[in-house]
């Protein structure tokens, strides 16, 4: 009895600390976000000021959502985060230096509608492709950093994503830097056919060589990450971190259901599910992610 009471008290204390920490973070992020340019949250807006949360159904003040890097203030639901916001979340202020900007997709197969898709994705996001990459500092630690963007054709991996990931890995290799890649991807970019499949091989040869060294690779998996990205650099990491509730897997639930007629359990392929199955190391709240990475990197310097 006493033992149980003590543990309840302990967990209440911990919870209290968590909440204080939260409030502190929230203020901190609100401050920095107000100076940032507006970016699309990726959410359906009800009236431009409030949006209804997919997770809890409560109205969220859009500005607040943005200030919290697209995490619902009520239920902590993590919405997809645009790559520039991700970089702003993780990199020390002013430390990010983009590399390989201006690299765009070719249309190797002349695939129907691909050009239009690329153009509208570019217009929507302002990005050249589904990725932002470069070097930065996280808590003072220099790192090579790449972040994918789900808004750009579903974060699909074509030649640009493959090449920029590879160059980021090579920069880490050459500079002896820790490597951090944040993934968000529906999988391969079918419009590039075999070239998209081969990006898995390309990123793997680079990563495999990098990992013969002694610098760490941390992969952060966000909602959703599937297919060719999980089956290559997404999971081949020293440390695999996932955001709460992120759906992560190889084949999507719908494909599995329609192929095998299996009934999938509640919470199938969520970050929590994958952690329970021993595949993910840590589940880290987005607003804790920078601190978490700093802590990890701190062990290695």
């Amino acid at each position: 009895m006493r033992c149980a009471r003590r543990s309840i008290a302990r967990s209440a204390r911990r919870r209290g600390a968590e909440i204080r920490n939260w409030l502190h973070k929230r203020r901190e992020y609100s401050r920095s976000a107000s100076e940032a340019p507006d970016t699309e949250s990726g959410l359906a807006s009800t009236n431009g000021v409030f949006t209804k949360c997919e997770g809890c159904g409560q109205p969220i003040y859009e500005k607040e959502l943005k200030a919290r890097f697209n995490v619902c203030p009520h239920c902590q639901f993590h919405y997809p985060l645009p790559a520039p916001e991700r970089v702003r979340l993780l990199a020390d202020e002013g430390s990010f230096s983009e590399r390989d900007a201006g690299m765009t997709a070719g249309d190797p197969l002349g695939f129907e509608d691909y050009r239009e898709k690329l153009e509208s994705a570019h217009e929507k996001t302002g990005l050249d492709d589904a990725i932002l990459s470069g070097v930065a500092r996280i808590g003072g630690h220099p790192v090579a950093l790449a972040a994918m963007d789900f808004r750009f054709i579903g974060g699909s991996m074509g030649s640009v994503v493959g090449e920029r990931i590879t160059r980021t890995v090579e920069a880490a290799h050459d500079g002896g830097l820790p490597l951090v890649i944040v993934s968000a991807s529906g999988g391969a970019r079918m419009y590039e056919g075999i070239y998209s499949l081969m990006q898995m091989a390309k990123t793997s040869v680079a990563l495999s060589r990098y990992m013969t060294g002694s610098s760490p690779y941390v992969s952060v998996l966000t909602d959703p990450t599937f297919g060719g990205v999980t089956a290559s650099f997404g999971t081949a990491a020293d440390v695999v971190i996932a955001e709460p509730g992120a759906r992560i897997g190889f084949a999507g639930a719908r494909v599995i259901e329609s192929t095998t007629k299996e009934r999938l359990p509640e919470g199938f392929q969520t970050a929590e599910f994958q952690k329970e199955h021993g595949l993910v190391d840590r589940i880290v709240h987005r607003l804790e992610l920078k601190d978490d990475l700093e802590r990890f990197l701190g062990f290695l310097t």
């Binding site: 070719g106 590039e192 499949l197 091989a201 190889f250 084949a251 599995i256």
Partner: protein
């Protein structure tokens, strides 16, 4: 099984067989037979030399197509099979072990599709679970330790899309194989003998030399799935197969495959001995070439081989890079 486009050929063959049975010494019928045989020959040439990409996919999936066992028997006098992933399971969809090809010992592995209802179900139609990829990974390690070349025979619709596969880390198992193949310091030769379905195929064909049989294919996604996602209509699979450039000749042109082996007219299933023989010769030739390279050159060449593949366009640069060979 008779493929739709093969029907005229099969009908002619049936008529010829029937006439043979009836003819005996009848000269008139003999003449008719030889006329039909000419027609058969012409029909075969007409149909088989102009297969569309999607028809080739169907040939690649043909149940009578020579499979792992068939090639293994032709390749190796002795095959010393090894089982299991050493983590709790053995996946019948992936086979592997030690084999002696000519005077050379190798680690031979490949997909198993099964050849009757029971074995097909047991091997999940060649769609491996994580255990299969971990078994492959274990064999890559073994090849490295024993300094033996790796020869893999690819024939899979793809990695199993299944609940159990996800629960046991399908993506993790595949990425581990890619990482292992990327740095294994022994020659790696891959032959796509049938279907090369996506990551499930790539986990066994990141190689120094990729051989494809003429009617095999290698694709990021099955044409049916591509059609249903991009065209929102599975029936447009033939168009998707065409658009994605997945045939052996396309991949050779794009520098992804290094060598295409012509198949007997109508596909490997019509004359398996010839197809098997061509594969055996290609593997022997490749192994002998690669055996001249040291471990460092092998890994370095493999790096560069894959490093080049991409079609991105960089500002200030002329154009994106292409695959090797371009």
């Amino acid at each position: 099984m008779i493929l739709e486009f093969e029907k005229p050929v099969r009908e002619l063959e049936a008529r010829i067989a029937e006439l043979h049975r009836l003819a005996g010494p009848n000269a008139e019928l003999q003449e008719e037979i030889s006329r039909l045989e000419d027609a058969l020959d012409a029909a075969k040439r007409r149909i088989y030399s102009n297969l569309t990409p999607y028809q080739r996919v169907q040939v690649a999936r043909h149940p009578d197509r020579p499979d792992f066992d068939r090639y293994r028997d032709a390749l190796a006098d002795d095959f010393y099979e090894l089982s299991g992933d050493r983590l709790g399971a053995d996946d019948p969809a992936v086979r592997g072990g030690l084999a002696k090809i000519g005077s050379r010992s190798v680690v031979l592995l490949g997909h198993e599709k099964g050849d009757d209802v029971n074995s097909r179900v047991k091997s999940n139609f060649g769609m491996a679970h994580p255990e299969g990829y971990r078994k492959a990974g274990r064999l890559y390690d073994l090849a490295e330790r024993l300094e033996l070349p790796i020869v893999s025979l690819i024939d899979t619709p793809g990695a199993a899309p299944a609940r159990a596969a996800e629960e046991r880390g399908q993506a993790w198992a595949i990425s581990a194989d890619l990482m292992a193949l990327a740095r294994v310091p022994v020659p790696v030769v891959a032959v796509v003998i049938g279907e090369g379905g996506s990551g499930g195929a790539l986990a066994m064909c990141l190689a120094d030399h990729v051989v494809m049989l003429e009617n095999s294919y290698l694709s990021v996604i099955a044409p049916e799935a591509c059609a249903s996602i991009i065209f929102r209509d599975e029936k447009r699979a033939p168009e998707a197969a065409e658009a994605m450039k997945i045939t052996a000749r396309d991949l050779l042109a794009h520098g992804i495959a290094d060598e295409v082996l012509p198949e007997p007219l109508g596909g490997a299933h019509n004359e398996p001995e010839a197809a098997v023989e061509a594969v055996v010769r290609a593997i022997e030739g490749t192994l002998s070439k690669l055996s001249r390279l040291g471990p460092e050159s092998l890994v370095k060449n493999r790096y560069e081989r894959y490093r080049r593949i991409g079609t991105h366009v960089t500002e200030g640069e002329m154009a994106g890079t292409r695959g090797p060979g371009e």
